[in-house]
Symmetry: C2
Subunit: 285 residues, 2 copies
């Protein structure tokens, strides 16, 4: 079985590494606009070959698209055009609405499976890929009723064999939830990083005075701009609403602090503490 990975970065590379372990006879073809990434992926044993897109797709039984979401949208029609009639395309993009819209108008829509693994790190590129990224994580499949049985069954089997738990929803539901539980926390971290860097021109002061709490909160500010800018753009209505709600809470919090209203400040934090239940669950997962 030939598997092409388009975009051999953190996610595409990690998916290839876990599949290789489960299916030693799968043959992996890497497609990447960066020749350096291709060489790194070969050297790291993520893929067996590197090829141009059209050639790779036409030889594939399965194509996995793991580029930034704007590139998935740009390439998906061509990938479907070149796809053999019994093959399957899976995308792993972090937004699903715009990608499914593009797929929906293609004659080969049924060979496409829209998926999103709830996994990532703040690092990127093939050097960041590791076999343990996906096992134990959740994965969302959107519009599964629009995929044909063969393609859907193949995708589900591979994700389950990679140790993932599957959930199903519409692209609309997916994009709304993700704006809150993922996209917003990235923007909150990017803005926190900017605020602190602007104030503390002397990086040594941040270094000396910051503790692990700061590191944890701002960690996502290390994330790849090339990956995240298209996500925020494609999911802009939901992200903008989530940001508006977040800014509103921050403004309320600021007012409470300005007013020296310690009782309301306590109340805000006690309500926020409820998140402990959810986080303890995620950490045990």
């Amino acid at each position: 079985m030939n598997v092409s990975i388009i975009g051999i970065g953190l996610l595409g590379g990690s998916f290839a590494l876990v599949l290789r372990e489960k299916y030693p006879k799968m043959h992996f073809i890497g497609v990447d606009t960066s020749p350096v990434n291709g060489q790194l992926a070969l050297a790291k044993g993520i893929v067996d070959d590197v090829m141009p897109l059209a050639e790779a797709v036409s030889k594939s039984d399965l194509v996995v698209m793991a580029t930034p979401v704007n590139v998935i949208i740009d390439l998906l029609p061509a990938v479907l055009d070149h796809l053999p009639s019994s093959a399957t395309v899976i995308d792993l993009g972090s937004t699903k609405g715009s990608i499914c819209d593009v797929a929906d108008i293609h004659p080969k829509r049924a060979q496409f499976v829209a998926a999103h693994p709830m996994a990532g790190t703040e690092n990127s590129g093939p050097g960041a890929a590791f076999r343990e990224l996906l096992p134990g994580k959740n994965l969302i499949i959107c519009d599964s009723d629009k995929s044909n049985t063969e393609s859907l069954t193949l995708a589900e089997s591979l994700f389950r064999d990679a140790g993932m738990k599957l959930f199903y929803m519409t692209p609309k539901e997916h994009d709304l939830h993700l704006a809150y539980v993922s996209h917003l926390s990235h923007i909150s971290a990017f803005a926190l990083g900017l605020t602190v860097l602007e104030k503390e021109k002397d990086e040594q002061a941040i270094f000396d005075m910051a503790s692990t709490g700061f590191s944890s909160t701002v960690r996502l500010a290390k994330s790849s701009p090339q990956m995240w800018a298209p996500i925020f753009d494609q999911n802009r209505t939901n992200v903008s609403n989530a940001l508006a709600a977040y800014i509103e809470f921050l403004q309320q919090f600021k007012q409470v602090i300005d007013d020296q209203d310690v009782a309301t400040s306590l109340d805000f934090m006690k309500r926020a503490n409820v998140i402990r239940r959810v986080l303890d669950g995620i950490e045990k997962r």
Copy 2:
């Protein structure tokens, strides 16, 4: 040597645990308004005795104040009143301006050392204390020139023996920096927790769809309201300015997303990425 720990929680308890290991003959007296905390601290071997405040202080060579900062301010005059003439008081509060103001007008000011360890977790109480919290972390001493040589030398020796690296600054500098590198990240996490909990009434949805990135960013929302409300209140001018700067960046980010201005979105994130240098340093520390 008798050491009283006023407030036997995460910080006071962790400091006692690391000192016990270095100085097996030190005798630790716990002071806590919660009888349960006192019993837990005895059971966990954090302290040898539990006593009321005045009795404990009058028997002490060293008093460590590790309560919420408003309680430090309330108790510090009485602690200094009861303090034997050759003894020392150290406070470990997260704000330094208001606490030093109270100390400055007391006749025994020279027996007081104002300190703040850059360490903590989102957990609280004696059950959360652990010996490894402080070793390897930084500690700030404020207004060291106002402490007498004996008290300052004792405090410095104990902190160094606890494995900490010492920095010196004024309370004003301390409170300004901490507003950015610590207090702001706590508010950002509390507000993120509130935003997500308000939107996602169904906690299961957050649980299913959140990844480790969300956990990391929102982790500090688990922190103790009783500890943090007084910190935000005492450092309200700096915290309010930091929050205003943060809200401004978020509003700019929102505008950029609303305008579909992907180039500026990329630029924001690239500038925020600079934080990687600082974080990599903190993690290696």
